[in-house]
């Protein structure tokens, strides 16, 4: 009886797992097709070249202009600075948690990192408007605190948990024998950490950084709330700018299904998808190398 049951149940369970696995692939594929279909509809009405290389985003003017360059540069600039801020901090604290901190402190720190990941982005955005923006305005003598840097700082804060926990995993994954060999050769703790453990965990850390970037590029609420959303071609992080995500979130509600503006937002979504896909793909390559 038991054996019979096992003979029936095994294939059923296997089928279920296979279906769930395939479903994920199918969903991603369908989302991509949907995005592609709607964004390609734009290019029947609006030239592709003007979309990709246009320098003006004026969606409700007559005639409208959908140049994606200011939005793309806005996203790139905010992301770049967020990465500059959060990578050293994140990798540093991962090194501390993995190698230096005593066990009790390590557990406390790890749970705090998890709590950090649980803060909703609207709450961070609100803090940005009320507190961080005015502080930055006064420190850098800007004309407004609603600028790229406010966004970058908050995004860096949001990417920290991802970077810390994945880098920490990579660091603890370095075999014990490496450490013992280094100490055996008379290396100090710092030398071991810096010259032996960090290089051998580098693929994992790079993957952590790439996943952090993916998180930052795709984040919407914070940038919509604090970066000022002016569709200029940004020349400095200290000025207001507009990102791809904020544009979609800010304008989607008012577009009527099937209008040019509606399709233009899908095209912006496709650009965003291409960016995050590339970033995640690279992260995956590094993760795979780390495993070998």
């Amino acid at each position: 009886m038991k054996r019979l049951w096992r003979r029936i149940s095994e294939p059923i369970i296997e089928l279920c797992i296979r279906v769930s696995g395939l479903a994920v692939v199918i969903f991603v594929f369908l989302i991509f097709l949907f995005l592609l279909r709607d964004s390609l509809s734009l290019f029947r009405q609006y030239p592709l070249g003007q979309f990709l290389f246009g320098r003006k985003w004026l969606p409700i003017s007559e005639p409208p202009q959908f140049g994606v360059i200011p939005l793309l540069l806005g996203s790139v600039l905010v992301t770049f600075w967020a990465v500059v801020i959060c990578v050293p901090l994140g990798v540093g604290s991962a090194m501390f948690i993995a190698e230096v901190a005593p066990k009790a402190l390590k557990n406390v720190l790890k749970s705090f990192v998890e709590i950090l990941a649980a803060i909703p982005s609207v709450v961070l955005g609100f803090l940005g408007i009320i507190w961080l923006g005015p502080v930055l305005r006064d420190t850098f003598h800007l004309s407004t605190g609603m600028c790229g840097l406010t966004g970058s700082l908050l995004l860096a804060f949001m990417a920290l948990p991802t970077i810390i926990s994945i880098s920490e995993d990579a660091l603890t994954g370095v075999p014990r024998s490496y450490r013992e060999a280094a100490f055996g050769l008379g290396a100090t703790r710092w030398q071991t950490l810096w010259r032996v453990i960090l290089p051998s965990a580098s693929s994992g850390i790079l993957a952590a950084v790439m996943l952090g970037i993916g998180r930052v590029v795709g984040e919407t609420m914070v940038v919509l709330m604090v970066t000022g959303n002016a569709p200029v071609i940004p020349t400095s992080i200290l000025q207001p700018l507009r990102t791809l995500t904020a544009t979609i979130a800010g304008e989607m509600g008012e577009t009527v299904g099937g209008s040019e503006h509606y399709y233009a937002l899908f095209a912006v979504g496709l650009v965003l998808f291409a960016i995050t896909f590339t970033v995640n793909f690279i992260a995956d390559l590094f993760l795979r190398r780390a495993r070998r």
Binding site: T144, N229, V232, G250, G253, E254
Partner: protein
């Protein structure tokens, strides 16, 4: 067996109770009304909805903001019963609505003046429409040009989904000319709500922004606006007399003539109790039947001060 018995008792009781619920008052209206749109009007409409729900406890009214464009789009996409808008629907939008089988019915629910606000420490008190045009198109960039301090001007606007954005664009950026190609200066910050504009202006001496009268408070300073030589502050009187140059209607749109509970809600908005909420929120009520009290109090006000 005992279990089955209990189930039957519960089922019978449920049917009986449900029957009771209906039979208490079959004439009592009930249902759900979805209201979406203007961020300028959202607070006032919320207040009206709360009063309305006191009178009709079985009707639930949900009020969402997002901007007039959001309301109009959701009326066309049939995701709301009443769209609120701080601008009229454009002919092109009505055409699209008809293609979707929606026939917008316009109701003026109140009047509003678009106020232009600056920081309380800004010495500038009055600007002409031409000055505003220069400031918001980026032609003028320093407060010194308007008698203020030697500071850069930071222009704040609402997102493009906002009816106030559209209105301001037509009246100030394009100066009422349909074929004008002028745009908001690219440096203009596009903020997602009127409250965000209040926050930024209250804390930034260089900022200038615009919003509906309902958002005026003593945390910011409203400028007097004039077409050429005479300047008027955005007050109820000046909007009523249309001497304030940036006066406009506030609208509610339904799909066809309102019916059933939606009609009750619209009627309530236009009733004295509903209009009082708009007055309390800082807007100008619609005068369906000009009462004697209103002109009296307004002249009384001017004489006294």
């Amino acid at each position: 067996m005992r279990l089955t018995g209990q189930v039957i008792v519960i089922a019978v009781a449920a049917v009986f109770l449900a029957g009771c619920g209906e039979s208490i008052d079959p004439n009592e209206p009930q249902g759900f009304i979805q209201t979406k749109g203007s961020d300028t009007m959202v607070n006032a409409v919320q207040m009206v909805a709360e009063e309305f729900m006191k009178d009709y406890p079985n009707i639930f009214v949900a009020v969402t903001g997002g901007g007039s464009g959001v309301g109009i789009a959701s009326l066309i996409n049939k995701t709301c019963d009443v769209a609120t808008a701080s601008r009229e629907m454009k002919p092109k939008e009505i055409e699209i609505a008809n293609q979707h089988g929606v026939y917008p019915n316009e109701i003026v629910v109140a009047y509003d003046g678009v106020a232009v606000i600056v920081n309380k420490n800004n010495p500038v008190n009055r600007l002409t429409i031409d000055d505003l045009h220069k400031i918001f198109t980026g032609e003028a960039t320093n407060w010194k040009q308007f008698g203020g301090k030697d500071l850069h001007i930071v222009t704040l606007s609402r997102e493009v989904s906002s009816g106030t954005h559209m209105y301001f664009k037509e009246e100030v950026i394009q100066l009422g000319k349909k074929d004008s190609r002028d745009e908001f200066s690219k440096e203009t910050l596009l903020l997602t709500s009127s409250q965000a504009i209040v926050e930024e202006v209250a804390g930034n001496e260089e900022a200038i922004g615009y919003l509906g009268m309902g958002y005026l408070s003593d945390r910011t300073k409203a400028l007097q606006i004039g077409k050429d030589k005479e300047f008027y502050p955005p007050t109820v009187e000046n909007v009523l007399k249309k001497t304030y140059p940036l006066s406009r209607g506030l609208y509610a749109y339904t799909n066809g003539e309102p019916q059933g509970i939606v009609k009750r809600f619209i009627d309530f908005i236009l009733s004295p109790a509903g209009q009082k909420q708009f007055t309390d929120a800082g807007f100008v009520p619609v005068q369906t039947s000009p009462p004697e009290a209103a002109p009296q109090s307004s002249t009384g006000g001017t004489v006294a001060r």
